[in-house]
């Protein structure tokens, strides 16, 4: 559900980075924050625990140009990945226009990936979204880890439809902009249809 403001010719969209704990959701956002022109971004807010794990969310507002004379502002959020933050995750997902699932490539984290994917599908469904219809991208993060699962193994378990899939090493920024661009493009395409 985008917010289209005719008074100030601005469109606000929300993209949520979802995935298991320590998969690299915050790392994605921090890389984007560090690499974007200061004029195009707002302040990065992180609500963390003392151990720097995401407690509630990270938030980054980002301006991504114009569409039909409207300035588009993307609000990027991460959710806390740990299983016990279920309630917070659900609250943050509300109103999302697009979702990025950040998967961990380490073999020991496959169960966590699957559990988080189930959780995402359940929560989307509760809000009336369909993961097959909402703008969505899958990121396979930590490709530099040794050992790591093959792309085929991860895709076989985590792919939901024809979504774009990106290999990433978020700490180095590899695959990070590509993932964001892919989901932002889908959100903008939906908006263009809505604005016609």
């Amino acid at each position: 559900m985008s917010f289209i403001n005719y008074a100030n010719r601005e469109i606000n969209c929300k993209i949520v980075y979802y995935g298991p704990g320590l998969a690299g959701k915050t790392t994605n956002i921090v890389f984007i924050y560090d690499s974007v022109n200061p004029k195009s971004k707002g302040k990065l807010i992180s609500l963390n625990t003392e151990m720097d794990r995401t407690l509630f969310f990270d938030f980054l507002p980002l301006d991504l140009g114009n569409i039909g004379g409207f300035k588009t502002r993307f609000h990027l959020y991460t959710v806390p990945g740990q299983v016990f933050y279920e309630a917070s995750r659900k609250l943050i997902l509300k109103g999302a226009d697009g979702v990025v699932f950040v998967a961990d490539s380490h073999p020991d984290r496959m169960d966590a990936n699957l559990e988080s994917m189930r959780d995402l599908k359940d929560n989307l469904k509760e809000y009336g979204y369909n993961i097959l219809k909402i703008p969505y991208a899958l990121q396979l993060n930590k490709r530099d880890l040794n050992p790591h699962l093959s792309v085929e193994e991860l895709v076989k378990e985590l792919k939901v439809a024809q979504e774009p899939i990106f290999e990433a090493v978020a700490v180095k920024g590899t695959g990070v902009p590509e993932t964001l661009k892919a989901v932002a493009k889908q959100v903008l395409n939906v908006l263009k249809q809505d604005l016609v």
Binding site: M1, F3, N12, F57, L91
Partner: protein, 143 residues
């Protein structure tokens, strides 16, 4: 997309601004903000001391979302408002229907947040947003 976009037209924005500016006067508030539940600023009025209004919007929505979660744990439908008191500033956050949040920011030394004025403003804003929602749903149904 299954859920209609929230489309704010100029005439609705003007009505909202009128309500917010009245509330600024009545409460002698420094800033009054209408924010949607997704954490996006709809519009604001007053001489806001906050430059980073996007952060204010996102954190206020987060606060309301967390408070809503607490209410549900206790079997309440909702806690409709929450207040924070600092040394210099008071901040009062009120739910406006299920789509928006009204935030009143006031300097403790020179103003007090008047509950009845906030309530009146909330009811008018709820009505404006309800009509907006119905209009948008109608637009979506036609297209």
């Amino acid at each position: 997309m299954e859920i209609p976009n929230f489309i704010l037209r100029e005439e609705e924005n003007e009505k909202i601004l009128f309500v917010l500016s009245s509330l600024v006067s009545k409460c002698r508030a420094d800033g009054v903000y209408l924010i949607n539940r997704n954490g996006q600023m709809i519009t604001s009025s007053g001489q806001s001391p906050i430059r980073d209004e996007q952060s204010l919007a996102s954190l206020s929505a987060g606060s309301v979302a967390a408070t809503h979660g607490l209410a549900r744990i206790l079997g309440e439908t909702e806690f409709t408002s929450v207040s924070h008191q600092g040394e210099k500033w008071n901040i009062h956050i009120t739910s406006v229907g299920n789509r928006a949040i009204l935030v009143v920011l006031a300097d403790r030394a020179k103003s007090s947040i008047d509950d009845s004025s906030v309530k009146r403003a909330r009811l008018i804003l709820e009505d404006i947003l309800r009509k907006n929602w119905q209009a948008n749903a109608g637009v979506s149904a036609e297209t």
